[in-house]
Symmetry: C2
Subunit: 180 residues, 2 copies
């Protein structure tokens, strides 16, 4: 049972720019059209958990739905899944620990936790086991940060780096709950 | 002529914790007493440039003065170098571009730019050419950030990673002024 963050940030730790836009993510030249390991990561996971805002953002992208695995959307206000997503998206709500336990009970053990607010909420409850962070080496100078306030520090451990198209770096960290 | 940042940050980008302390930097086990490349980096540079606050902090550490190269302290208020530092520390002030040009004229071409405020001021004027950032994989959840506001994004490029004591990662980035 592992909850994994897989996300790209700017060099200064933002997941969206000052205008809540993501264009800067796609500015890196990618002549071979690599997915930078995304589909391999998708093979690994059993399901995604994201917030309502992230769902709305992805649903609004001008491209096909990118997730071949079930997407559980955390929302206290949505009561029905938007048309067209009935076989892709499922609503969940309530305490995160309970949501995760219920998904684990159903056999969804490797969970991809997505979206800034959701990641921050999971971290607040120490529910993140692994983080795969691709750094786009742009200093944005402002935007929506990946990380937020925590009452106490959380220790992770670096387990690997991969350079992508000679520009970006993907670093992988795992949670160390008993110190390093 | 290169201005280089060489610094450690938490996984969430802080250079000091919520109490302006650095203890968390030294929590990583280091059984062989490695300096993680610091003295090799010191060999490479010609001089350091830091702010008054960083100078005070380092001067207050309970250890020998760690810099074998001249340290130029940016200060508009200090008029004399504190006793004991006369052969180590030199005061500079004024416009950063001018300060750098004057140091370059004197043969100080590889400059180590240190301290949060100074790094942010150098970045605001696009005066940083290289950044060597060691990530201590602790999420602090608050503190003094390395990066600050910028009027426009700055693109860097990842050039290398090094894992340290199986816990941390040192990533190196160089400035790309004409795009990637």
């Amino acid at each position: 049972m592992v909850n994994i963050v897989y996300i790209a940030t700017s060099l200064d730790g933002f997941i969206a720019d000052k205008n809540n836009e993501l264009d800067w993510l796609h500015e890196v030249p990618n002549p071979d059209g690599s997915d930078f390991g995304f589909s391999a990561f998708m093979q690994r996971i059993d399901a995604l958990v994201m917030g309502r805002k992230t769902f709305d953002k992805v649903a609004g992208f001008d491209c096909a739905w990118p997730y071949p695995k079930p997407v559980f959307v955390l929302s206290n206000s949505m009561t029905t899944v938007p048309q067209g997503y009935e076989d892709k998206v499922f609503l969940v709500h309530g305490e995160l620990k309970k949501v995760v336990a219920e998904l684990n009970d159903k056999g969804y053990n490797e969970l991809y936790i997505d979206g800034g607010v959701t990641v921050q909420n999971f971290l607040k409850e120490d529910l993140i086991d692994e983080m795969i962070i691709t750094t786009i080496p742009t200093i944005l100078g402002g935007g929506i940060p990946l990380f937020g306030e925590l009452n106490q520090p959380l220790k992770f451990k670096h387990v690997g780096s991969e350079r992508l198209v000679d520009v970006m770096v993907k670093n992988r960290y795992v949670r160390c709950r008993n110190g390093w």
